[in-house]
């Protein structure tokens, strides 16, 4: 599973980072980026799904499974 954050949609709500700091980073303006090129380590898929489901800007998507 590989995630990406659309920088044009992300508004820095920080929900992804608080749910899954293993998968995301946020900068000082709140903009999120994925860690590890978006690759979701085995066992973290549920957290990845939760981050996707809680982003108020619909900015996180799955690139490939």
């Amino acid at each position: 599973m590989r995630l990406c954050v659309d920088p044009d949609k992300c508004e820095g709500h920080n929900r992804c980072y608080s749910i899954a700091p293993e998968l995301f980073e946020v900068d000082e303006f709140g903009l999120a980026t994925t860690k590890n090129d978006g690759l979701v380590p085995e066992g973290m898929e549920d957290k990845a799904d939760l981050a996707i489901a809680n982003c108020p800007e619909f900015a996180i998507s799955i690139l490939e499974d």
Partner: protein, 419 residues
């Protein structure tokens, strides 16, 4: 509501509402006590309601409509973000000032392209990392307040003695102003956001007090620069130019106003919830690991903040045509109860995991203080639950709620069982 309100074109302030679809009243005390059933009815029957009260406005109740509207920038402009419009006198002042100096309270009252540089200016003060540095201060504050509550005895006002006390001190600490004057700051902000909503004289009075105060703070720092947010704003440049005093004052004014009533309301609403729902209260005592989802859920259910937009060109949402000059209420609180998006929306589920709520808005005006507000809620609730053995709201139906722009409990006596 007051009927000496000269701004309203309709003479019906204070008259009961017969049909919320065509005549809603955001200041109605019953609505502000429990708006859920009214939103539910409107969502099914007339999802974008209209009213001529309070200067006239549209009010959406569906998630998708609110979201589309928040993102329709700048067709829906933020130049007048107040839910209750300013008086004609105040509007004249604002129009003059905006001509002379630019947006009054950037970024909240700014549209693109002006909005972004101002937002970027303040965001670093509220990044997740920066906010963690304010946590120890906030924890100490919360513990001191609980000490006082416990010392005083078996009854305390959860709104006045606790929820209200935290946010002004934290934001004062961040801005770099005197925390010991926090009670005054709260009075000023309530003057703007609560009493001042319907009373233009009060609004003008407190606006002047706040602007004069920050003018003084700027003058002080001109003599003796410091390492605080005001000094940083004085050094900051946008497109190579320093900010005018008018703008620096506007940004500080906004941080003070945006940071106090809002967070106070969310902490107070959370205490109201746990102080009236025994099973939920007991569950939090037993399962503190639920705090992260519980806080998001309380933000969803008790969303305190509504904003407004001004229509700049003809536009339609959900089949409703709007004309330039119309006002639209960004009803984030109602959007957060939409059954299309939230399962059992009118029920608080402390472990709700899928919770794409919009309590902090969406789009470019996303609350700049959202990380701070969440940290304050986290500290306030954890400290309360750690230190207080049990508690309950004494007469839930007598709790007084503010309404209009910001909804939250303002008077809420509670029985307290100390440590």
């Amino acid at each position: 509501m007051s009927n000496n309100n000269p701004i309203d074109s309709s003479p019906r302030e204070g008259c009961p509402v017969h049909d919320w679809a065509t005549d809603f009243d955001v200041m109605d005390p019953g609505y502000n006590r429990d708006p859920g059933p009214i939103w539910k009815d409107l969502r099914e029957r007339c999802p974008i309601a209209h009213s001529t009260r309070w200067g006239g406005s549209w009010m959406p109740t569906r998630y998708d409509d609110v979201r589309d509207m928040a993102r329709a920038v700048p067709t829906l402009s933020s130049r007048a973000p107040g839910v209750i419009p300013p008086s004609p006198e105040m509007r004249e002042i604002l129009i003059q000032e905006v001509k002379e100096f630019g947006a009054e309270l950037p970024p909240i009252s700014a549209d693109p392209p002006l909005h972004k540089p101002f937002k970027q200016l303040i965001l670093p003060l509220f990044s997740p990392k920066a906010v963690e540095t304010y946590r120890p201060f906030t924890e100490k504050l919360a513990n001191n307040l609980i000490d006082k509550i416990i010392n005083r005895g078996k009854v305390a006002d959860g709104a006045v003695d606790y929820a209200q006390q935290l946010p002004p001190r934290v934001i004062a600490y961040i801005i770099g102003i005197d925390e010991t004057r926090a009670d005054e700051f709260t009075e000023w902000v309530r003057g703007i956001l609560e009493q001042g909503q319907a009373n233009p004289e009060i609004r003008l009075k407190y606006r002047r007090i706040i602007r004069d105060y920050f003018q003084e703070m700027i003058a002080e720092r001109r003599r003796n620069p410091r390492d605080d947010a005001i000094s940083k704003l004085m050094e900051a440049k946008i497109e190579g130019e320093n900010l005018s005093d008018y703008t620096i004052i506007g940004v500080c004014f906004l941080l003070l106003v945006a940071g106090i009533d809002t967070t106070w309301s969310s902490i107070g609403s959370a205490l109201f919830h746990f102080g009236t729902k025994t099973d939920h209260r007991n569950r939090m005592y037993a399962e503190p690991e639920l705090f992260p989802t519980a806080i998001e859920e309380l933000l969803r259910f008790y969303s305190p903040v509504k904003m407004a937009r001004r229509v700049l060109e003809p536009v339609a949402f959900g089949g409703v045509e709007m004309q330039p000059g119309d006002k639209v209420i960004m009803n984030f609180p109602a959007a957060n109860r939409d059954p299309e998006v939230f399962e059992n929306p009118d029920e608080v589920m402390l472990d709700r995991e899928q919770n794409r709520h919009m309590a902090f808005g969406v789009g470019i005006h996303r609350c700049a203080g959202s990380n701070l507000a969440r940290m304050e809620m986290d500290v306030a609730l954890r400290t309360w639950f750690n230190r207080i053995k049990d508690f309950e709201v004494i007469q839930p139906e007598k709790v007084i709620w503010s309404g209009g722009q910001v909804r939250g409990p303002r008077v809420m006596p509670m029985r307290i069982a100390g440590a």
